[in-house]
Symmetry: C2
Subunit: 392 residues, 2 copies
C-alpha cells in the first residue's frame, strides 16, 4: 500500500467545496466532470431496464447486447473489426488501467507512461510492483509533442508496456499522424503492448479522431480504454470497457469475476441506448465545450506571462505560467494556486497533480478544466484572475 | 494470473442456459440470484436521482448520506456504534474481499478461510501472494460446526487473517453463540484481523442475527462485508460496503480511487432509499424464501440417502449425498450432476465449486439454492429428482 498513489486533484475538490461552504464563490476550473445532464433517452433506458427486471446478476464480461454494440461502435469509429469477444465491459474507464496491469504486467517490468498524465497509471504500475518509466512532452510552437528521447530511453531500459493517452489529460496534447506512426513503429519494433487510453477520443472538436490501434500491426497489441463518461455525460454511471485482443479481454473479465462480479446490469442497457443516440444529442455537449475552450484559451493567453495551446480534444487547457509566476513573485506552484483561490475563488489544478516532476523540469503549468463551468462563470472567473495578475 | 481463481459455479449457469436454449426445461437450483423484483421505492429513488442530475462523480468512499445511513443501520442491527468514517461504499459485497487483501495482507502471510466457502476468498488470497489456509465444517447431529482443529492448526501455522462467513454460502452453516465466542477468543488471543462476510446476515429466518464484530474486543479487529444484494433483491445493482475501523476503510477507499473512482452515484441514492424501507417490503422476500427452504428441506430429506440440515439463514441447502451416490452407482460428483441434469433438468452446484477438497474429505455434498426458483418449480423439480433416484 505504500506504493499506491491517489488522485491528488480530488483534494482540490474537497478544498473548493469547503471554500464554497464558507460562503465564498468558487469558479470550478479544477473539475474534470461535466455540468451537463445525461441525455434523456439514456436515463429513460435505465428506468425501462429497471422496471423490466434487469436487476439481477449478468455475465462478468457484460451483457451480450452491450458487448456487441461496443464492438461495432468502437470498430467503426477506428476502421477496425471487433466482435463481442474483444470487449470486456467495466464499471468505468479507469478499471481498465489496473486490470491490464494486474493481468499482463510481470513484477519488475518497466512500463512507459505519460507524465504529466492521468495519475492512476503511475499509481497502479507501482502498486503491482512494476517500474514506472515516465515520458513527458516537448513544448513546441505547434503544440506539445511526445518526448521521444524519453520513450526511447524507456525502451532501452527494457520497457514491455506503454500507456498512451492521445488527447491527453491534463496537457490536451494530441499526436499528429507522423508522431503516432513513429510511436507505433517503436512499439512494433520492440514488441511492446499498448494501453491506449481513449477517454477523450470522441471529444475531438474538429476532424476525425485517430486511434493507434488502427495503424498497421497495432490492433493485436493494443488494448483500448473506452468510457461512456465524457461523450454521454455519464461520469457517475461508471460504465466503460476494455477492448482488444480476446486473450487479453478474457483475462480482464476473469479479474471482474473476482473484483465486482459484473458491472451494474441495468446500467449496461442504458449504455446500449447511449450508443444508439443520434449525433445531435451528443454534438450539443461538444459544441458547448468547444465554445468554452475557445473563450478560455483567448482569455488565458491575454494574460501577460501565460501561454496556452488550443487542445484539439478534451476538457482541459494546460497553460504555461512560468513567466506569470516569476512576475507575481511566486516560485512554488502550490502557494501560487492557494493565493489565487483565496483572492479570487478561481480553483484549478497544477502540473504536480499529474505525476512526479521529471528530472530537469523547469517550467510551471496549470490545468484549467472547462467541462464543469458555464461560459458565464468561466468569463467572470477569468476577469477576476486577470485583475489579480494585473494587481501584482 | 496463474494463481487467480474464478467462480466455477458460473459455468453451471452457462451450461443450464445452453440446455434451456435447446428447448429443455431447467429447474435452476444452481442460481445464487433472486427471482424477485427490486422493491418499487428503491427503483423509484434511482429514477429520481437520475433526473435530479446525480449522474456525475462522487467521493470514492461514497456519498455522505449513504455512508451515514449504513453506519446507523449496520450499527443498530449489531448493537455497535459506527459513523460514516467507518464506511467505504463498494460496487457490491464482493469488492471488499479483494480490497481487504490488497490493503492489509502482506505477501506470504497465511489467511484462514472457510472451505467449502465462497470461492473468491481462496482466489484473491492466492492472487495477492498469500497462503490460503482452509478450514472446513464438522457434520454433527445439530448441524455443521466450525472445524476448530483446522482453525487452530492455521493459527499455529502463523495465520494473521481470518475470513468468517456466518450464515455460510454454500453450507448454510451458522454459529451458535458459544462457537462464535470461542472463535472470537482465538482471534483476540492470537491478534488476528477478521473479515466477517455478512452477506446473509439480514436473511435470517428466525430470531436475531449476530455479528462477530459485536463480541467484546472484536469491533476494532473486524471488517464487515455488507451488501444490498440479498435483502433488497439488488444483486445486479452492485452496491455494498466495507464497514470497520476507519484506518482500514480509509485504505480501502484509496483502492477505490485507483480501481473505479466511485460506486455509481445515483445507485447510492437508491441505497439510501432501500435502508429506509419499512420491514414489510423486505419481509415478503424472506417469507417466500422461508417457505421454499422448508419445502425443499422436506423433499430432499425424503429421498433415501440424502441428509440436509435446515439452514437458519441464506439461500442454500447443502445436502449430504454420499449414500445416494453410492446407491445409484456414482463415485464422481460431476458425473452425478451431469447425469441428473440430463435426465431431469434439475441443475445444482456441487461441493467442489466451493473450494479444493480438504485432505481426507470423504463425504459428497451438493448445493441447492432456493433463491431463484418458484415454489411450484421447486416442487416439480424435486418430484423429477425423486423419481430419478427411485429408478436407480
Amino acid at each position: 500500500m505504500g506504493r499506491l498513489g491517489t488522485e491528488t486533484a480530488m483534494a482540490i475538490s474537497v478544498e473548493a467545496s469547503a471554500y464554497a461552504a464558507a460562503g465564498k464563490r468558487v469558479f470550478p476550473f479544477h473539475l474534470g466532470d461535466l455540468n451537463f445532464p445525461t441525455p434523456m433517452p439514456v436515463r429513460k433506458a435505465a428506468r425501462t431496464a429497471l422496471d423490466a427486471g434487469h436487476t439481477g446478476y449478468c455475465p462478468a464480461a457484460g451483457i451480450p447486447a452491450l458487448r456487441e454494440a461496443l464492438a461495432a461502435d468502437i470498430g467503426k469509429a477506428r476502421g477496425l473489426d471487433y466482435n463481442s469477444a474483444n470487449v470486456s465491459v467495466q464499471p468505468g474507464g479507469k478499471p481498465t488501467i489496473g486490470k491490464y496491469i494486474a493481468a499482463v504486467m510481470e513484477k519488475g517490468e518497466t512500463v512507459l507512461y505519460p507524465n504529466p498524465g492521468y495519475p492512476i497509471y503511475e499509481s497502479q504500475i507501482e502498486f503491482y510492483g512494476g517500474v514506472a518509466y515516465p515520458y513527458g512532452y516537448v513544448d513546441t510552437e505547434a503544440g506539445l509533442r511526445l518526448d521521444f528521447d524519453a520513450i526511447e530511453a524507456g525502451i532501452a531500459a527494457g520497457a514491455r508496456h506503454l500507456f498512451y493517452n492521445n488527447y491527453n489529460n491534463p496537457t490536451g496534447a494530441s499526436s499528429p499522424s507522423a508522431e503516432m506512426e513513429r510511436l507505433a513503429q517503436l512499439v512494433i519494433e520492440h514488441d511492446l503492448l499498448v494501453v491506449s487510453d481513449e477517454a477523450y477520443f470522441d471529444m475531438l472538436f474538429e476532424g476525425e479522431p485517430r486511434s493507434i490501434a488502427s495503424l498497421p500491426g497495432m490492433q493485436k497489441r493494443t488494448l483500448i480504454l473506452y468510457t461512456f463518461s465524457k461523450k454521454f455525460a455519464m461520469t457517475g454511471w461508471r460504465l466503460g470497457g476494455a477492448i482488444g485482443p480476446h486473450w487479453l479481454t478474457d483475462e480482464i473479465s476473469r479479474l471482474n469475476v473476482n473484483a465486482e462480479s459484473c458491472t451494474a446490469h441495468f446500467v449496461q442497457h442504458a449504455g446500449v441506448a447511449a450508443l444508439k443516440l443520434p449525433a445531435s444529442e451528443t454534438d450539443i455537449i461538444r459544441d458547448r465545450l468547444r465554445a468554452r475552450r475557445d473563450r478560455l484559451a483567448t482569455l488565458l493567453n491575454e494574460i501577460d506571462g501565460v501561454a496556452a495551446h488550443l487542445p484539439e480534444a478534451g476538457f482541459y487547457l494546460f497553460p504555461r505560467v512560468t513567466e506569470l509566476m516569476a512576475r507575481t513573485g511566486f516560485d512554488d506552484a502550490e502557494t501560487f494556486r492557494q493565493a489565487i483561490l483565496e483572492a479570487t475563488g478561481v480553483s484549478f489544478c497544477c502540473r504536480y497533480h499529474f505525476g512526479r516532476p521529471l528530472e530537469g523540469e523547469q517550467e510551471h503549468y496549470l490545468r484549467f478544466a472547462f467541462s464543469g463551468i458555464s461560459l458565464t462563470d468561466l468569463e467572470e472567473g477569468m476577469t477576476r484572475l486577470t485583475e489579480w495578475t494585473n494587481s501584482h
